[in-house]
Symmetry: C2
Subunit: 603 residues, 2 copies
């Protein structure tokens, strides 16, 4: 074989042993002989002296080579280039006063080297390994192994590691058992699309990758494990939105012999421990709670950002009696008229910007946006000519409007009003800087009593708001047949700064009720049998009352580390079209593989 | 909805709070008022008094209901049947002397109940929830959720949980970061078959489920994470053997800037901690080591059970000179003649049984089995007539044979001799009870210096003994071109009582060497590019020397818990044809799903 190769390899016999990570050394180590190994972050050759910033996962340490001390070594060191992997031995010394770097943990020391191994070389990297370089994400993901060298990414995955261990520590201490459930499962499509895996041994049949361990963790409760958890990989073949991945991780939890209170109590302590361990922040417990209904009425959202006001105000009573037909008819048709008061925004928005907001609310199916700028004695509004002054004053009074305030009105069906005003509220808060001001605060709350069902216009049937295993509230059982949409569920979401951190519910634990639920969802007995037969069967043999929750780990890590995208807290993420820019997955495969699976691609 | 349903549900409002698990109460709690919840293991109604054995994950506690104390409650309790889920409140009392059960942790106490809720009922279970019941495995797996109620299965998964946490604790303390790698990866078939996942977004392309995180963990080393671990799910679409599962879990570890010694040292401490935590056994370190060559020569196996002797003896020198043509020609053809000495077995084996052993060794491709029964002055053997007495004596001397010993000879190519005699050794040890005698001892050792390659007769090419990323030993680099099969690898397996617990290697970390390896394996440049291009590219930009190991978690748990099958340490295992008897996976799916994936089943 090539000389070159043998010689290259022989370098691998690098009889040196690393003393410790680079950034673990301090002034206390001055005079100590150490060996360090890592990557060349940068080098400066000043002729007689060569400085190398050596990087490993702990940080950076300066290596120094002096030609007059050792010419041969200096020559060798002069070959060093960025991202070379080297091992060096030397004595730790104090830097000269003018060489001290206050921005570096190891800024007051350097290693005067007398030994050096070049463990492996590097071509010029296609992307900069530097947090300051703002490389486009496509390139970062193609060369992920280089992108991950950046301290920012190293930090993100280190934090992810710590968050997971913190959660495990809590769950282990609280009698939860970590139990692995299968990845090759049965396809039970309901909600999102399954990823399928063709079976070679049983041609024509398929496994599905789990959208969550839901059914398995419920069966573990049937089995009497009482408290289960798993850091579980889940899969959904959806068309990806910015913050979605085809595979994602959830902290999956299930408990037996509990009610909603028990589950909230344990999980508040879990979340509090994570915040304490990771951010050293004390979360005040118990966390605030809000029913779904209240969240919609006040914030127009089931994951309200309660970090600021600008709450929705229901002015339907005034609207119903006013002369403005758009307002009046909305109420007459069973809808409502609501507003938000953008305090002191009257002069912050130009007519043009207000028109833009009008377009904005249309994306949430609102027919239009009415506005009213509160003045000292006279007001401007989009509907002035339709209203009597006293009607306008009534609106202002109810909105607690003061001169300089800008009121935004939406008149429509309740759902549209909530959706449009809820999003408008956030949009205004972003524009006037409120979200920026509060971004370092952590506002947690539980949203409870979600509707059990919603009506799917496309499928022309009821679908489960959470999932088909969620238990209705006992108080509403009598409505299951008469008015299903009014039935509330024993379901709860944990919301952080307007983002859903996790959600769960008390489960149905009786065959009759589960059958009833499937019936409401429009499953035939046979469909229910085919898909969930084994669960229904299990329920016949003594099922404890049980419930649980699942937290989205990727999102939790993103929020705790202040990252903008979940791709920045996942080692090897996929992009919008569900492909991996680094490995090229998914890719074409050998015909032989498809033949063995007895499947064929069709156009 | 049905009365029955509403009434059933209302039971769910069971305003009782559990005090603690059943088997946590002791005599110290006598007089204490407690609430317990669980399953009815059994009940005895003696008319005036009803005894219930209540079971939860902690064990069993006796509940007692007296009719004269509370007739109504007694009536309700009388409805209880096996596997009903109940909640009961009462006062802990001492049992009468004759009712004490010494075999139960709680055998000296009972709960005199004054409250009872039937939380859910149970039909007669299709299988007994009892460790003593020996139900056939098919039924156990179909009703896995009931099988898992058995203390034995609860214990197995509890131990699995503890083993995993013990490993994590060690790895966390030793600076390893737990990093998740993708499940939806690129297909790079080499060795086992990939499970494929058709892509809907990119029709005609496929993801593969990872056979191991190998490439990703190496890329994490390229990224500078330095120490990685993951409790990783792996997938292989093989025709299952008894101890295989299509999906299995490994403790996956990788380290940078290390050599074989470093990796062995850390992992010996990991294994020692697990044995200490779980079995309270001190593993003497450092663990014994043996080269692959020595393991084959002495035990005829690369995972030798060193718990007993009966080692192979090479008698080729004598055989080469003897008159027995079968022996002589084996040596002349470059093979060897070796024997094992079954001490004192001369009268333990009938001629018929020895013939059976002859058939046994044929399954390992040996042409035949020769034997010699050492007598006081004269010996019996299958080849007496071919040998001079002094030749026979020479064999006996070399075998340290004594009267009553039974010698078994195999004459063949080395590989066949090793394979056949190695297995015969275990078979004899099993038959005469040695394996049973030593089954509670734990003999660990490292087997090192595995061959880099082996020749695949079917594919007519070299294949990697471990995997294509394993580094050759520097001492043997010069043989890569001239005599590849002689090249040893920086590879090591950890062996426990004759079973491989895990294996690993120092990896190739240079593009040239990796290309060389692919070339030896008969990949064209293009094939190598298509499959591993991103890894080869990564190696160009500064790759640290690195290596790692992976332990089979399922097997580790099986051995530490003394279970016979890995199915007994997996919550929801699959059977030989890779199906799940409980869920019915894999199953037919809706045509709509296949249409969306643009694939079709073919006959």
């Amino acid at each position: 074989m090539s000389e070159n190769l043998t010689e290259n390899m022989s370098e691998n016999l690098y009889g040196m042993k690393r003393t410790a990570y680079c950034a673990t050394f301090t002034e206390n180590d001055i005079g100590r002989r150490v060996t360090v190994m890592g990557w060349v972050q940068k080098y400066r050759n000043l002729g007689g002296v060569l400085f190398v910033d050596l990087r490993d996962r702990s940080g950076i340490l300066q290596l120094t080579f002096h030609s007059e001390r050792n010419t041969e070594l200096f020559e060798k060191a002069s070959q060093i280039r960025n991202e070379y992997v080297i091992a060096a031995t030397g004595v730790i010394a104090a830097r000269g006063p003018k060489d001290i770097n206050k921005n570096m943990v190891t800024g007051k020391i350097e290693v005067l080297c007398d030994e050096l191994r070049i463990l492996s070389k590097s071509e010029t990297p296609p992307i900069y390994v530097d947090d300051r370089a703002n490389t486009n994400e496509a390139a970062r993901l193609k060369y992920r192994y280089l992108d991950l060298r950046r301290p920012e990414m190293q930090q993100a995955l280190y934090m992810r590691h710590r968050i997971v261990q913190s959660a495990r520590e809590f769950l282990n201490q609280n009698d939860f058992l970590e139990i692995e459930t299968p990845i090759l499962t049965k396809s039970t499509p309901e909600g999102a699309r399954d990823y399928l895996v063709p079976s070679r041994v049983n041609p024509g049949t398929y496994y599905a990758l789990p959208q969550s361990p839901q059914i398995y963790k419920q069966l573990l409760m049937v089995s009497g494990f009482d408290r289960y958890y798993q850091i579980a990989r889940c899969f959904r073949d959806e068309d990806l939105r910015a913050d979605r991945q085809p595979e994602f991780t959830q902290i999956d939890i299930e408990m037996s012999f509990v009610n909603t209170e028990d589950i909230m109590e344990v999980n508040e302590r879990l979340i509090a421990k994570i915040f304490k361990d990771i951010l050293n922040i004390e979360i005040p417990r118990p966390l605030p709670r809000m029913t779904y209904q209240e969240a919609m009425e006040r914030f127009g959202s089931d994951k309200p950002n309660i970090g600021f006001g600008m709450e929705l105000v229901n002015v339907s009573d005034i609207a119903a009696a006013c002369d403005f037909k758009v307002f009046r008819s909305a109420v007459e048709n069973g809808g409502s008229v609501r507003l938000i008061n953008a305090k002191g925004c009257a002069d912050k928005y130009s007519r043009k910007e207000i028109d833009a907001l009008g377009e904005f609310v249309k994306t949430f199916n609102a027919k239009g946006l009415a506005w009213l700028a509160v003045g000292e004695d006279q007001h401007k509004s989009s509907f002035a000519k339709f209203l009597k002054p006293e009607e306008t004053d009534a609106f202002i009074r109810k909105a607690q409007g003061e001169p300089g305030d800008l009121l935004f009105f939406i008149a429509d069906s309740d759902n549209t009003v909530f959706d449009a005003l809820g999003n408008l509220r956030l949009e205004v808060a972003r524009k006037i800087g409120i979200l920026e001001d509060i971004k370092d605060r952590f506002n947690l709350l539980w949203v409870t009593e979600f509707p059990l069902l919603e009506y799917d216009e496309e499928e022309k049937r009821y679908v489960a708001k959470h999932h088909p295993f969620t238990s209705p509230m006992d108080e509403d059982l009598h409505l299951l047949d008469t008015d299903p949409l009014k039935v509330r569920a024993k379901a709860y979401d944990l919301v952080l700064n307007g983002t859903e951190l996790g959600g769960g519910s008390i489960r149905i634990h009786r065959t009759e009720m589960q059958n009833k639920m499937f019936e409401l969802l429009g499953f035939s007995q046979e469909e229910a049998e085919n898909r969930f037969g084994f669960l229904l069967e299990a329920f016949k043999y003594g099922t404890p009352p049980h419930g649980g929750i699942a937290f989205g780990l990727d999102r939790l890590v993103m929020l705790l580390t202040g990252r903008k995208s979940i791709r920045d807290v996942i080692a090897f993420p996929k992009v919008q079209n569900a492909s991996c820019l680094m490995s090229g997955a998914p890719s074409k495969v050998d015909q032989k593989q498809l033949d063995e699976l007895k499947i064929r691609n069709v156009e």
